[in-house]
Amino acid sequence: MVGGADKPRTIHPLFVRVTHWVNAFAIFVMVLSGWRIYNASPLFGFEFPKDFTLGGWLAGALAWHFAAMWLLALNGLAYLAYGLVSGHFRRSFMPISLRGAFDDLLVAMRGHLNHAPGRYNAAQRVFYVGIILAVIVAILSGLAIWKPVQLQGLTALMGGYEAARVVHFFAMATIVAFLVVHIGLAVSVKGILAPMFTGRAEAQR
């Protein structure tokens, strides 16, 4: 369903809105249960605070993780397929330029956000494509850890089982770092958040 895509004031197609919020839910479950799994055998010298984890104990966390992974992967595939086939990626993320993203960041640091409803600025384009890639890396490294025998080619590609754990960790860290900025901007910049639910740009006051 591409419901409102061709209505005049719709800046986010229905398909993108639905998959975005399903994805947000799936990512939260994956990250919070993943932190609890991490705590069972920490890779680095720290643990995540228990109260910020999901699942209660290792088996519970794994059950959440291995349930939500289907939601994340299937919803992600649907989003990718839609984005590629409908031209949404081309329209919204192209042209993409690191240089432009850098300029936008400088502008933003001087207190002016280069944000117009219905059009992603250069920094957003780079970050959105980047976060999509980070989620893909998280899923692939997760598969490499989950099935180091059946999918041993993939595990080898990640540098082996132990290296795949490290890749998986840093994919998570990248996603979390993105989310801090992404959510921070979504709730602080006026008129951005509501259209991600309604699809419609708010009338300029």
Partner: protein, 246 residues
């Protein structure tokens, strides 16, 4: 416990995790395995727990479909073996069962033709093979070890097991129990291991299969049975995914 030689933190993490598990074990007994799953409610018959369990059963089927009976786990060289190998069980290292090898008899039961018990001598008279493979723990750490013993497929054939049965179950001297699917039992790298570095890793008999997580490799095996009735397992009954394939 001896400090591990390896600098990797993961090498001694299991001890901490084990302490945690013991705490949860207590809760598990009072609340039931179901309510432990989601960790968000304490009601027994919670909808979230049922959903998570349903997904876990679904994942069992997906993993069974993904399992390639001919695909071999990567093998390593002697130099890659992790020393010391991490000890891991639901109890502390000093609580391992001590078994007298002379009088030991492996019991075999269920859907098999020959129910005679096996002495260690009988098992050693069967063809032996060894493997150096990576053991991956459900906790996330992994270690490379060497195991030597009887190809499990050969043993199952020798006892006249119904190879079309669904499960092979294990009952152990440490009151641990587990079960695996028949295709994994018949995998060429599934070993009934008699030789490994130290008794604490399961003397006199343990199962070693690199196609499943560590907790699916029962130690101190006392009885092996073949069945079509889902036998569950010690951790599996507490909420770990049953198939837990690698």
């Amino acid at each position: 416990m001896k400090p591990p030689r390896s600098e990797r933190l993961s090498a001694f993490r299991p001890q901490i995790a084990r302490l945690e598990r013991r705490l949860f074990l207590k809760q598990g007994l009072s609340l039931g395995a179901l309510s432990l799953l989601s960790g968000c409610t304490l009601k027994d018959d919670d909808a979230v727990d049922r959903l998570l369990l349903t997904m876990s059963r679904f994942n069992d089927r997906v993993q069974a479909a993904l399992f390639d009976p001919a695909k071999l786990a990567p093998t390593y060289s002697e130099a890659d073996v992790t020393t010391p190998f991490p000890f891991n069980a639901y109890y502390e290292e000093q609580d391992i069962p001590v078994i007298d090898g002379e009088n030991y008899r492996l019991q075999v039961s269920g859907l098999i033709a020959d129910k005679r018990p096996w002495s260690l001598g009988d098992l050693r008279a069967l063809p032996q093979s060894s493997q150096i493979t990576r053991l991956v723990c459900v906790e996330g750490w992994s270690a490379i070890g060497k195991w030597r013993g009887v190809a499990f497929r050969h043993f199952l054939e020798r006892i006249g097991a119904d190879l079309t049965a669904r499960y092979v179950g294990f009952r152990c001297a440490d009151k641990y129990y587990s079960s695996i699917d028949m295709p994994s039992a018949l995998h060429p790298q599934t070993l009934l291991a008699l030789d490994f570095t130290e008794a604490k890793y399961g003397y006199p008999l343990r199962l070693r299969l690199p196609t499943k997580l560590g907790f699916k490799n029962p130690k101190f095996i006392g009885e092996i049975f073949v069945t079509n009735d889902y036998p569950g397992g010690y951790w599996e009954d507490k909420g770990y995914n049953w198939f837990s394939g690698s």
